[in-house]
Each structure stands twice: as structure tokens, then as C-alpha cells.
Symmetry: C2
Subunit: 116 residues, 2 copies
């Protein structure tokens, strides 16, 4: 394992590449914790599908109150998975594709087999 290149670890830690450092594991665990809730996953799917969506349009499809939706969007934003732009009393949310890809890639074997 001593010959393994870890130069890309800061951007692209993979669960499939041992040893995952404690710092990498902690960052990934935070992202997975944000995803470990069915309402947040449905919320994320609505934002991803829309591209950009007003928080006012998330209440009805989820059947949740504004404080609940705000709580969950904050958790996703804190994990870096979505970002928002405030306009008046509402926020327009969109997915952060680089972060989503980083989290997805951490579970993918693609880079592992491509490694030199």
C-alpha cells in the first residue's frame, strides 16, 4: 500500500480505496448523514429534477410544513449537497453537482479499476 498515490485524496476519497484516512471518512460520513433521511432524499430528488426550485414549491409535493422543509434544506446545504440563493422570503435551491459526484464516486469502483 506504500506505493499507492494519494495525491487526489483531497477531492476524491473513495470508500473502495483503503486506507481511507480519518479526515476523509469524517467528511464523507457527514454527507451520508445528511442523506440518511427519507424526507431529505425526496427533497433532494425534487431539487435535482427541477434544476433550480423555490422553497415555496417544495412544501406541497413533500406534504411538509415550511419549518420542516427549511430544517431539511439546511441539513443538505450544511453537507454541501445543495446551495441556495435567497430571494425575498424564499430561497431558490439547486444541487451542487461536484459534491454529489464526489459522494457517488466514493462508492464507485470505477476509479479503482482505472488506477495505475
Amino acid at each position: 500500500m506504500g506505493t499507492r498515490s494519494r495525491t487526489a485524496s483531497a477531492c476524491c476519497a473513495s470508500v473502495l480505496d483503503a486506507p481511507l484516512s480519518e479526515g476523509e471518512a469524517e467528511d464523507l460520513a457527514r454527507a451520508f448523514a445528511a442523506l440518511a433521511d427519507p424526507v431529505r432524499l425526496r427533497l433532494l430528488s425534487l431539487i435535482a429534477e427541477a434544476g433550480e426550485i423555490c422553497s415555496c414549491d417544495l412544501l406541497e409535493p413533500l406534504g411538509k410544513s415550511q419549518p420542516t422543509v427549511s430544517h431539511h434544506t439546511k441539513a443538505l446545504a450544511d453537507a454541501g449537497l445543495i446551495s441556495g440563493v435567497k430571494q425575498g422570503r424564499w430561497v431558490w435551491w439547486s444541487v451542487v453537482p461536484e459534491r454529489m459526484a464526489m459522494v457517488a464516486d466514493s462508492l464507485s469502483a470505477a476509479r479503482r479499476s482505472a488506477k495505475v
Copy 2:
């Protein structure tokens, strides 16, 4: 959205395909909850790297006791991410690639852009 095909939803729910059903979201959330722990991610990375590994060989690299490692391997196994074969007092663990791919794909935009 009414014209969207959902025939593959049982095997391949994607967070990027709204609407994610409540059942799909709950199953995925369980997998993410199992991943939402840095020790479990490092454990998973060790198992993935090894291909198959005796639980006796997981204690030292993680610096954790046997009960702690057993607790975490059970959480990963309950989420379907690893499977084990008992041999004597130890268990040989390996990753369940299909489940890992399903969880990774749920965050990937690949199938979304490929959709007809």
C-alpha cells in the same frame, strides 16, 4: 412527470429522478445511515480493498475492539452493503457489489441523462 417510466424503480431508484417514492427513499436512507459513520466507512474501505477479509484482521488497522468492529460490521451487513461467512469464531467479510452500485447510482446523474 406522468409519462416517466418507473419500471426500473425497484432495482435502481435514483435521488436524481423525482419523484422518489417513500419506499425507495426509506430503503436508500437506511443504506446512507449505515454509511454515516467514519469508522464504518474505514471498515468498508478495508473490506473492499481486501476483497475478502477475516474479522480478526480488521481490529488492528481500525484500532478498535472486537465488540466495536462486530457492531459496525453488523450495521453494514444489515444495510446489505457487506456479507459474511462464519468460519469458527471469526467471520469472513466481503462487499456486496450490487448493493454498493445501487447506492452509488442513486446519486449519479448518468442514468438521468441517458433517459429517453
